[in-house]
């Protein structure tokens, strides 16, 4: 069974410090939902409010439509996987997994049987009699998941469970986690500061910054249609041009920047009108060398360096009056680029692949 999770106008304060500000989110039952944000933005805090270790200062947490106020973590239909896993070191693997059943007073043979089933599910059959310290990092990870699943939660909460693993294993576990989620069909709420994890695994992602939810949407929309400068600069790479709006309609906005006027898509959420300060974001892969054909936008730049990365060429360029070097990614099609440093080039990009947003805070580099 899976349940919806709703956060209604949730505020969490520690003294004067606001760790979560006016959070409104609905997480659909049975979906894989991620919170993505830099360290210290309040992800763990929000998760603790869902699991019941912390009561919001204001607002409501509902699980399966039921208000959770005053209901402790041991009474909620959630199971939390801790950032450091918190497996019980003095118990065997199967006792760890069956702990939730032990709590419910299930008999030993039944517990053992259920533990074996879960060990099969996490692809560790017959390893129940090992001690926790005899497992590898990835195996511990999976045991933690099995232990949480044994409680038959309607919502599984995962606090950066992969952060301790090495890159290879992390990528493998992503696929595995997603597969386990689809097999058991319950709601997964996943916390991470790794956008790769969030984008590959989730049905929906909420991007957080300093206690505020910036945007909630699916992975592709997050990348293609950022709604705030924070999201645009945090998710993937983006070139930023600052300027002032000279024309704006429902489809396109023209912003006068240091590289000249740029015609960009008008964001669906944000409203810009003439004279406003604005940011224009263009992805490195949207930039091309001009091939003579007319384009929406053309800018002049000076080549700084070209880096060959096998599949891609990364070209770094200086633009007049720009405070930061811009970056262009070209797919390697077998031709040498061969621009000498200092070469003057023209770059172009279509208006649909640039987005204009109201000025606002950016993600830290």
């Amino acid at each position: 069974m899976s349940a919806d999770v709703e956060l209604e106008n949730v505020w969490i304060r520690f003294g004067d410090f606001v760790a979560a500000r006016e959070v409104n989110i609905t997480i659909e039952g049975g979906s894989f939902f991620s919170f993505l944000g830099p360290s210290g933005c309040g992800k763990t805090t929000l998760l603790r409010a869902v699991s019941g270790f912390l009561e919001p200062s204001e607002g409501r947490v509902k699980i399966g439509g039921q208000d959770m106020a005053g209901i402790g973590p041991n009474k909620r239909p959630t199971a939390l996987i801790f950032q450091n896993l918190a497996l019980f070191p003095l118990m065997t693997v199967w006792e760890n997994i069956a702990f939730a059943l032990e709590v419910k007073g299930v008999g030993k043979t039944e517990r053992r049987k259920r533990a074996e089933e879960l060990l099969d599910l996490i692809a560790l059959p017959g390893q129940g009699d090992k001690m926790v310290h005899e497992l590898s990092g990835g195996q511990k990870q999976r045991v933690a998941i099995a232990r949480a699943l044994a409680a038959e939660p309607q919502v599984l909460l995962l606090d950066e469970p992969l952060s301790a693993l090495d890159l290879k294993l992390r990528q493998h576990m992503r696929t595995e986690l997603r597969a386990i989620q689809q097999r058991v069909g319950i709601t997964f709420i996943y916390i991470t500061h790794d956008q790769g994890e969030a984008l590959t695994m989730s049905d929906n992602v909420a991007v957080m910054s300093e206690g505020v939810i910036e945007q909630v949407t699916d992975g592709t929309s997050l990348y293609d249609h950022p709604e705030t400068p924070f999201v645009a600069s945090f998710v993937g790479e983006n070139n930023l041009f600052r300027g002032r709006v000279t024309e704006a309609d429902a489809q396109f906005t023209v912003v006068d920047t240091n590289v000249g006027p740029i015609r960009a898509r008008t964001s669906t959420k944000a409203s810009l009108s003439k004279g406003d300060s604005a940011f224009v974001f263009v992805r490195p892969e949207s930039l091309k060398f001009t091939n003579g054909a007319s384009a929406d936008n053309t800018i002049k730049a000076t080549v700084h360096t070209e880096e060959f990365e096998g599949q891609f060429w990364q070209v770094f360029l200086d633009v007049p009056g720009g405070d930061k070097r811009i970056k262009m990614s070209l797919v390697n099609d077998g031709r040498q680029l061969g621009h000498a440093p200092g070469a003057q080039v023209d770059l172009s990009f279509p208006a649909e692949l640039a987005v204009a947003l109201p000025e606002g805070p950016l993600a830290a580099e």
């Binding site: 973590p73 801790f82 949480a148």
Partner: protein, 309 residues
């Protein structure tokens, strides 16, 4: 590593001068302060109690008479046991055992609270209020307990004011004052090992268990206590050994009609002027407490190495 290589490494690591000093000082401490006096005690306990003139003479032979005396009493009472001394001995061990349990029961919650619930300033204040009373001399503390538990003391006063009793209760005669005094005397030796053990437990483990629906009792039984077992056993060992071997508190707080085993030992040394028998009694106490602790460790599956952690 063979001993030769070990010593060579020891000297290269510390230098010859420091290495020699370390070896000599540790050796001195082990030998002069610990082994030698104990060896004398053992030797003493197997000799007759002779006037100084006869020591070293033909009468000075080895004997087990003092150990036999503890069990059978004087030779005059043929075929009977030394019920007085044996009774005191057993009662002392049982009382020390309960004092230990009592301390454990009190200190475990305090240690847990200090380690996992109290916040910085409050915890420091609590630790301080536990430590400061121990700056007061042991004898003074014991007399304070005597006054407190006396028939005109605050405790009787309070109980009578409450109406629980209408006559002052003789806490001293019933040894209540003694047990309380002993329990209090060693409370820190229980709290600190417990605190150290519990403090190193990852909080998340407690929260994980709670998240899975475990009650507080189960969390303690399954997570905290198994984890803290080395601390619990080292605290219990110290409190048990020290209360069984305490002398000042039983002298001051003990009831007039009951003795602590150490008081009997003291009597043989002092008033009885029989150091040999005193040594034998002291060694019996030492050996039995060690055996008792080892048996308890076996029962609770604690290894000796864990206690020293």
């Amino acid at each position: 590593m063979n001993p030769n290589a070990y010593f060579r490494q020891f000297f290269t690591r510390n230098g010859t001068a420091l290495g020699t000093f370390l070896l000599l000082s540790v050796g001195f401490w082990m030998f002069i302060m610990i082994l030698l006096p104990q060896a004398f005690m053992i030797d003493f306990s197997f000799r007759h109690n002779l006037p100084p003139a006869e020591i070293g003479g033909p009468q000075d032979t080895y004997t087990t008479e003092h150990y036999e005396f503890m069990v059978y009493g004087s030779a005059a009472a043929e075929g009977e046991f030394n019920t007085v001394d044996l009774g005191v001995f057993v009662r002392t061990l049982i009382a020390a055992f309960f004092v230990t349990l009592f301390d454990l029961a009190i200190c475990y919650p305090i240690a847990y609270y200090l380690a996992h619930s109290a916040s910085g300033g409050w915890a420091r204040l609590m630790v301080l209020s536990l430590i400061v009373p121990f700056w007061v001399n042991e004898i003074l503390r014991a007399f304070a307990f005597r006054i407190m538990f006396g028939s005109a003391g605050v405790i009787n006063g309070f109980l009578m004011w409450l109406g629980v009793i209408d006559q002052p209760y003789d806490f001293i005669r019933e040894n209540v004052a003694l047990y309380a005094g002993l329990g209090y005397a060693f409370i820190l030796l229980m709290i600190f090992p417990l605190y150290n053990a519990i403090e190193s437990l990852d909080r998340n483990q407690i929260e994980a268990a709670r998240d899975m629906g475990a009650s507080w009792i189960r969390i303690h039984r399954r997570i905290v206590i198994p984890f803290a077992k080395p601390g619990i056993s080292s605290g219990c060992t110290m409190v048990f050994m020290l209360s069984a071997g305490a002398l000042a508190a039983p002298q001051i707080l003990g009831g007039p009609s009951s003795l602590w085993f150490t008081q009997i030992i003291y009597q043989w040394f002092q008033t009885g002027n029989n150091w040999n028998r005193g040594s034998a009694y002291a060694l019996i106490l030492l050996a039995s407490t060690i055996v008792f602790v080892l048996v308890m460790m076996k029962v609770f599956k604690v290894k000796l190495g864990e206690i020293a952690r």
